[in-house]
Structure formats: structure tokens, C-alpha cells
């Protein structure tokens, strides 16, 4: 039997790596993938809690998170295509209209 805290620590580590990727990567697509990694880490915590409390609501929540992630990926990648077309680069440092 794997203790539930192992899953939660793994989830925390994956979330932290997602944050690191989000902060340090320069490519907008990779930043987007880091967000997906964070969503996955949270899903793992949900499923682990759902198992530990013997309650299916956690899994229902994961189902909805996956649906929302799919919608987010569709819209987000459309925005990425727009940015790439307008800036002719995928580097987020070129997206600086709001910078002083």
C-alpha cells in the first residue's frame, strides 16, 4: 500500500517544476506546457485525496479540470498563433507592449 502522502509530495514536486518552467522558459509554447504540467500535478492531488477519503467527488473534479484544460489549450494555442504571426517570434520578451 502506498501512503497517500507520497502521491501528494510527488504532486507538489511536479507543481514546483511547473512553476520553475513557467518562470524561467522564454518560449511561449513551453510556458504553456508548464501550465499544463501544473494542472496535471493538481489532478494527481485530487485523485489521491479522492482515494484517501473514499469519495468520488475528487475524480469528478479532475474530469472537469481536464475538460477545461482542453478548452484552454484550444484558445491558448490560437492566441500563440496570433502572437507568432504578429511578432514573428515565440520569445515572450518580444511581447512587451505593456512594458515601460
Amino acid at each position: 500500500m502506498v501512503p497517500i502522502s507520497y502521491y501528494l509530495v510527488l504532486s507538489a514536486v511536479l507543481f514546483g517544476l511547473g512553476v520553475v518552467g513557467f518562470v524561467f522558459k522564454r518560449n511561449i509554447i513551453t510556458i504553456f506546457m508548464s501550465i499544463e504540467l501544473m494542472l496535471n500535478a493538481v489532478n494527481l492531488a485530487f485523485v489521491a485525496f479522492s482515494r484517501s477519503m473514499d469519495h468520488l467527488h475528487g475524480q469528478v473534479f479532475v474530469f472537469f479540470v481536464i475538460i477545461v484544460a482542453a478548452a484552454e489549450a484550444a484558445v491558448g494555442l490560437a492566441i500563440v498563433i496570433l502572437i507568432a504571426r504578429n511578432r514573428e517570434s515565440l520569445n515572450v520578451e518580444r511581447v512587451n507592449l505593456l512594458k515601460l
Binding site: 511547473g18 512553476v19 520553475v20 506546457m33 478548452a71 520569445n91
Partner: protein
């Protein structure tokens, strides 16, 4: 060490390695492939946790649909290697320790808060039926709302990505 624990460690290591590789790789397509490794490892962990349905949609929706979309966009945009920019001094000396601190804090508090919890009941094979029952009774309104969300997202993606004429 039981087989379950061994499997957990194998897939956990795979997931962490994939996540590290996602950050370290410079080419976006390599990052995307690393993310697929993470997702498949997580699907295996869901199976270990007895969530068969979630494991299935993890593979089908995440590793299948979403990642194909990512790879497709990388291909369409012909994304090359990430430009090498110097990390600012702030990022190197403040950002790296702070992100390690964040991860350690998260892991530590989750460990502390749940060390006394039970591991729950053993696997029962009727989980998926219970999930379906919940989805179509208690959560039916939310379920219908997500249908609208998907429709709006689809329209939004088409409108955003279309070329102005």
C-alpha cells in the same frame, strides 16, 4: 517492498524526470515529448490509485488530443530552438532559491497535513459506474455548462486563428 510501492516509485521517477526534461530541453518539440512522458506516467499512477476512468481520459484527452494540438502548433509555427538569453542576476540568485523553497514548502506541508490519513478503501471496480452516476445526477448542470464551454472555446479558437482578409 511491495509491488505497488515499486511501481509507484518507477512511475514517480519517470514523471519527475519528464518534468525536469521539459524544463531543460531547449527545443519545444522535445519539451512536448517530455510532457507526454509525464502524462503517461501520471495515467499509470491513476491506475495505481484505482481511478481507471481518469487514467483512460488522461491518455485519450491529454496525451492524445491536447498534446497533438501542441505538436501541431509547434509544427505549423516551425518553432526552432529557444533563443539563449542570459538569466538576469535577479533570476539566478533570487528566482532559483525561491522556487526550490516553494516546492519544499508545498511538499513539507502536504506531507505533514496528511501523514495521519488512512489510505482509503481497497480498489473497487465499480468506481466508474459511481462516477457516471455522480456526473449525471449531482453534477449534471456543471456537465452541461462544460459542453457550452467547449463550444465557446471552439468558436473562440476559430475566430482567433483565422487570417484577416
Amino acid at each position: 517492498m511491495s509491488a505497488e510501492l515499486l511501481l509507484f516509485f518507477v512511475f514517480a521517477a519517470l514523471a519527475v524526470l519528464g518534468a525536469v526534461s521539459l524544463i531543460v530541453q531547449r527545443h519545444p518539440i522535445h519539451s512536448a515529448l517530455s510532457l507526454i512522458v509525464v502524462m503517461v506516467a501520471l495515467a499509470a499512477l491513476y491506475l495505481l490509485l484505482g481511478a481507471e476512468f481518469i487514467a483512460a481520459i488522461q491518455i485519450i484527452v491529454y496525451a492524445g488530443a491536447i498534446m497533438v494540438l501542441f505538436v501541431f502548433v509547434i509544427m505549423v509555427l516551425n518553432a526552432g530552438e529557444e533563443e539563449r538569453t542570459n538569466l538576469s542576476r535577479m533570476a539566478r540568485y533570487v528566482g532559483v532559491p525561491l522556487s526550490i523553497l516553494l516546492t519544499a514548502q508545498l511538499a513539507w506541508w502536504m506531507m505533514r497535513a496528511t501523514s495521519g490519513h488512512s489510505n482509503g478503501a481497497p480498489l473497487h471496480p465499480t468506481d466508474t459506474r459511481g462516477l457516471a452516476r455522480l456526473l449525471f445526477s449531482d453534477f449534471v448542470f456543471t456537465f452541461e455548462l462544460t459542453a457550452i464551454l467547449i463550444l465557446v472555446a471552439m468558436l473562440g479558437a476559430v475566430v482567433l486563428a483565422r487570417r484577416e482578409t
